[in-house]
């Protein structure tokens, strides 16, 4: 009798089996998870049928609560209930206080990074985000009978800078999620709409969420979503409209100093009032606390009057994005509305008059981003090998280096299509200078102080030369996730320095690894076993990928090269079977990797040549 076959965890038994991948919208106010089933994207719900998971985490000595239950506790336990932490990602305490004023949290530092003191200890925004992501992952696994999630596309505001993107990716790693791609929220929304309608032409995506605003201008053409320009404000959203109402309540009641729990009450009432005003012309807000009771009347007119400066601010970003895209307003065929805050009638009417077009709202603005992310996850995991969908996104904010006098020299301008690599040469300022410190910045302003500082690193060991004689080549690379790495090299000597840009207030790779270790229930052995398993799966993936390539393109190598590569592959297969140490497999993978580099490069060249064969060229 034939034995039944069972596949290794983390890999599918059959090559064409449907692989489980999800799209996650990690929102300021609510988060969602979606997946593609039978060709259709749908959001996954909890036991009670709710798709939206409030992005709220409560930390008590006894445990962690995520979602609706945590929201319930917000007023009684404001300082342990973290709300809208997405706004804190990649930020310093000073920046947070400047942007958001009074908050009911006890900010502190944990190993040089921002954290919030709670009953369950110091919690960083990255950690809180990882708990939200973890809850969504658990929900997805549960709805598929505990099948493993092989990968996820996680959305970020298009206008997120490098520090905020890196923090999001760190959070996903902490939650044990394999990130297939960080995807910009407006691009995700465009995918959800675009694939539905098969539309061609230029579209604008206006995305006003709980804490962030994005505007993206895209060109759709035969399955390609090409972002032409993007703009926005990573700290402008529904929360800011709430805080305008909170200020109005304070003014009307004459109560200006609020305890954390009364502040939370005011914010909750403001949110409810704002939402009600989308349907009613007038709302009476009852504020009851500390044995006092106030009633504040808010008309839609009054609210519009308070809100209009913020809405106008979003329109200025729209104008700039349209200009950056090199088009006129009239060329925009469709405007897509995304994010809960686009339910505000004022927002709709202002956007409509700006683009002179009635905006599209046919897909639920709260779910459209997660649906788009799920569609891309499905393609990336390999469930749709024939899909011709391709997303070409851009860098939202210029990247540069500090030069003499506190000025910023731009290396890669905003709205450059990613991935991108750009190099620039610099020289020494003083005779005999042997080191150079490099300060990497992101932003549009000329002065260092007005831009976001991403990282500082130094290139040491430059041989003493006259001022201006050294040639230091600094290379910026931005990958398809929009994440930056920087390297610097002195050309005559080859002295080199590299940095994976991690913000000074973010997490280092070691910190992430340590947090991962801490979060694992058991000590070294578990970790070791898990890492060994991971390396075995990775080795098999490498072997299978190479064998598949060799089956097609072996003719690109001569006999000796082919024999060498095959020998290395066989060696890796042996090590994979027998090794006890994950590092041994890792080393064998690296060897195969190096042996295959020439092959990989020839294959890429061949496919580039093939892509345009048949194109008529008159005189090359």
């Amino acid at each position: 009798m034939a034995l039944l076959q069972i596949a290794e965890p983390g890999q599918s038994a059959a090559p064409h089996e449907h692989k489980l991948a999800v799209g996650i919208d990690l929102g300021t106010t609510n988060s969602l998870v979606a997946t593609v089933q039978s060709g259709e994207a749908r959001t996954l719900t909890d036991e009670l049928g709710a798709a939206m998971l409030p992005s709220v985490v409560r930390y008590q000595a006894g445990g962690i609560t995520v979602g609706a239950d945590a929201v319930q506790a917000a007023t009684q336990d404001p300082s342990n209930t973290l709300i809208s932490v997405k706004r804190f990602l990649g930020k310093t305490q000073a920046e947070i206080e400047q942007s958001y004023g009074q908050l009911p949290y006890d900010f502190c530092e944990d190993n040089g990074t921002l954290a919030i003191q709670t009953e369950a200890g110091k919690i960083s925004p990255v950690k809180a985000s990882s708990h939200i992501l973890g809850a969504l992952k658990a929900r997805a696994e549960k709805s598929f009978g505990n099948q493993e999630i092989l990968g996820a596309v996680i959305t970020v505001p298009a206008y997120f800078d490098d520090a905020q993107r890196q923090s999001t990716k760190d959070a996903a790693e902490l939650a044990g999620i394999n990130v297939l791609r960080l995807l910009n929220e407006p691009t995700a929304a465009a995918v959800a709409y675009g694939l539905d309608s098969g539309q061609e032409g230029i579209i604008a995506v206006y995305d006003l969420g709980g804490g962030t605003f994005d505007i993206s201008i895209l060109r759709l053409h035969q399955g390609v979503f090409e972002v032409m320009a993007t703009g926005g404000d990573s700290s402008l959203g529904g929360d800011d409209f709430d805080s305008l109402l909170v200020d109005y309540f304070k003014q009307q009641t004459g109560v200006s100093v609020l305890s954390p729990s009364v502040l939370r009450l005011f914010i909750n009432k403001a949110k409810a009032c704002k939402e009600a005003l989308s349907q009613y012309a007038k709302v009476n807000v009852v504020l009851e606390f500390d044995e006092q009771k106030y009633t504040v009347e808010v008309t839609r007119e009054k609210f519009d009057e308070l809100a209009i400066p913020l809405v106008k601010k979003t329109l200025r970003s729209c104008r700039r994005a349209v200009k950056d895209a090199g088009i006129e307003n009239e060329e925009v065929l469709q405007v897509i509305m995304v994010g809960g805050s686009t339910r505000m009638p004022l927002v709709r009417s202002q956007v409509e008059s700006f683009f002179d077009k009635e905006p599209l709202t046919s897909i639920d603005p709260d779910r459209v981003v997660a649906l788009g992310a799920a569609l891309q996850a499905d393609v990336l995991i390999g469930n749709k090998p024939d899909s011709d969908m391709l997303l070409l996104d851009v860098l939202p904010l210029s990247l540069g280096l500090e030069t003499m006098g506190g000025l910023v020299e731009k290396i890669i301008p905003r709205n450059t299509t990613i991935p991108v690599a750009r190099a620039q040469e610099f020289t020494t300022f003083k005779d005999g200078q042997t080191a150079m410190s490099l300060h990497v910045l992101q932003g549009e302003r000329e002065l260092v102080d007005d831009c976001r500082s991403l990282a500082k690193f130094s290139l040491k060991g430059i041989p003493p030369m006259a001022a201006g004689a050294a040639h230091i080549r600094v290379t910026f690379k931005v990958d398809a996730d929009g994440l930056l790495s920087v390297s610097a090299m002195e050309k005559s000597t080859g002295v080199q320095a590299d940095i994976q840009v991690k913000p000074s207030f973010g997490l280092s790779d070691d910190q992430v690894a340590n947090m991962l270790k801490e979060s694992m229930s058991n000590a070294k052995d578990d970790m070791q076993a898990r890492m060994l398993k991971e390396q075995q799966v990775e080795a098999l993936r490498v072997i299978e990928a190479l064998e598949a390539s060799l089956a097609v393109d072996a003719n690109l190598l001569d006999e000796v090269q082919l024999a060498n590569l095959k020998a290395e592959i066989a060696e890796l297969a042996k090590v994979r079977e027998n090794a006890q140490q994950p590092s041994d497999i890792k080393a064998a993978i690296e060897k195969v990797d190096n042996a295959s580099s020439e092959f990989a490069s020839r294959r890429m060249d061949a496919s580039i040549k093939k892509a345009l064969t048949g194109q008529s060229v008159d005189n090359i």
């Binding site: 053409h221 200025r316 391709l390 991108v420 390539s549 490069s601 580039i608």
Partner: protein, 175 residues
């Protein structure tokens, strides 16, 4: 002329942008990292590099100054990293006057009109200096290449003015 070859278009300063864009998308469909999401680490890295190179090639060919500099460097005259300044007092004088005018734009009584007028001047200069470039770059003549180099240097000044103007417009938007 690698970049022209890459996009399968003839080597000519006057480019056919529509064809380049079309071929660009076809190339990205082949090399983009999303198309290699399940490949080995080496193939993924290769995909990122190739996609970045193709993006860079497109940016270079699309931008009138970068395209000219690139073509000239392929012809053996590389002025992309030069430190030397332009020796044309008349031109430099004109540039200084334009800079002064630029600085006064934001305080003009009607900034919108002032900006529009300035934009027109820049456009004229742009046309003036780029008019002969196509011929010069196709001339196969060293002396013509040097004239092209001078035109490119002047164009760079014009584009700097344009960038500055954009910055000023942006700051007016932000008020």
């Amino acid at each position: 002329m690698r970049y022209f070859e890459l996009f399968a278009v003839p080597v000519d300063y006057n480019i056919d942008l529509a064809t380049i864009n079309k071929h660009y998308l076809e190339l990205q469909r082949t090399v983009h990292p999303d198309r290699h999401a399940n490949a080995s680490a080496r193939d993924k890295l290769m995909a990122v590099q190739s996609a970045a190179e193709i993006n860079d090639a497109l940016q270079t060919l699309k931008h009138p100054v970068k395209r000219a500099e690139y073509m000239l460097s392929e012809l053996g005259v590389d002025i992309r990293a030069e430190q030397q300044t332009l020796q044309d007092p008349m031109f430099l004088m004109q540039q200084m006057e334009l800079r002064e005018e630029l600085e006064e734009l934001s305080s003009a009584s009607d900034p919108d009109t002032a900006i529009a007028n300035f934009e027109k001047q820049i456009k004229q200069l742009n046309e003036q200096y780029s008019a002969q470039l196509a011929e010069q770059l196709a001339s196969n003549n060293e002396q013509q290449y040097q004239l092209a180099a001078d035109n490119i240097r002047k164009l760079k000044f014009v584009y700097k003015l344009r960038d500055e103007l954009e910055r000023i417009e942006d700051s007016l938007f932000d008020d």
